[in-house]
């Protein structure tokens, strides 16, 4: 399932871009956009990391276990603390967002989580797999998507999209969302 975190970055950006450009596909400059989506720093690192892990195999990364495995939870905690600071700094953007965007940032992830959980049940994933698929379906990308979408859809207001994703969806996700998606998955697996 963690494989999907990396693999879903690119399709999600492409789908988002296509949805925004449905009525003007002929005018899209695919070259620079494709370059950013497929060869952007973040995507290359994500996919490259997957490839390195696969090529090295289960024992190949043992010499680096101390850094990449043992320290993982600690580094993750630091990352989340920093993202919390970034999310808090975006709260001011909500004043410009309006109630619609706030509701969107909560309700749409919930909808996608339900779709993800149901799909997980349909393709016979385990309880953990179903939960993870619901979590992934409900998530937003802070890695590759912001830069790629900024290039692909320059007229979109990043203050609103990033503000909603970081200031609303992100804290909702970690406080209420994930426990809720787990309960949903439990319900589906009864």
């Amino acid at each position: 399932m963690p494989l999907f975190v990396a693999l879903l970055e690119v399709p999600s950006i492409v789908v988002g871009m296509l949805l925004a450009r449905l009525q003007s596909l002929k005018t899209v400059q695919w070259g620079p956009i494709a370059h950013e989506i497929f060869l952007g720093k973040s995507v290359v690192l994500l996919v490259g990391g997957l490839f390195i892990g696969w090529a090295a195999g289960p024992t190949g990364l043992d010499p680096m276990r101390g850094l990449f495995f043992d320290l993982f939870n600690g580094v993750l905690a630091l990352f989340l603390l920093e993202m919390g600071l970034v999310a808090a700094s975006r709260v001011g953007d909500l004043k410009r967002a309006g109630l619609f965007l706030i509701a969107f940032a909560v309700l749409v992830p919930l909808l996608f989580a339900v779709i993800g959980a149901v799909l997980g049940k349909v393709i016979v994933l385990s309880l953990g797999g179903t939960t993870l698929l619901a979590v992934l379906a409900a998530s937003a990308s802070y890695i590759a998507a912001p830069a790629a979408v900024r290039i692909a859809i320059p007229e979109a207001n990043p203050t609103l999209s990033i503000g909603a994703a970081l200031a609303i969806t992100f804290p909702f996700y970690f406080t209420i969302g994930i426990p809720l998606y787990y309960q949903l998955s439990l319900l589906l697996h009864k």
């Binding site: 993202m83 970034v86 953007d93 802070y142 912001p146």
Partner: protein, 100 residues
């Protein structure tokens, strides 16, 4: 030491524009550039560089006036509508004329 008058064009904009700006200035005849990471704020709000999507760059281009004006016009026409962008020009004197 002899000094040669040139124009300094400074472009301050979103970091996502970096590779496009580098490509564009070379197209119009600039021989080089210098980029620094900066923070600031304005009409588009504050850009504090607190995460990847909120970074800004300051690009300095020293060239002849004609090239500076062409670059400035192109950058404004192409990017000013949708991206946070500031440009300004000033007179400078360079000591190595052949580089600019």
């Amino acid at each position: 030491m002899k000094q040669y008058p040139k124009k300094l064009l400074v472009v301050i904009g979103e970091a996502v524009l970096e590779k496009f700006l580098v490509r564009d200035i070379k197209t119009f005849g600039a021989h080089g550039y210098t980029i620094t990471d900066v923070r600031g704020g304005g009409a588009h709000g504050a850009r504090d560089a607190d995460w990847e999507g909120n970074r800004s760059i300051r690009m300095e281009i020293i060239c002849v006036e004609e090239v500076a004006k062409k670059i400035a016009k192109h950058v404004i026409d192409q990017y000013a509508k949708n991206f946070s962008l500031s440009l300004y020009m000033s007179d400078v004197s360079v000591l190595r004329n052949e580089k600019f």
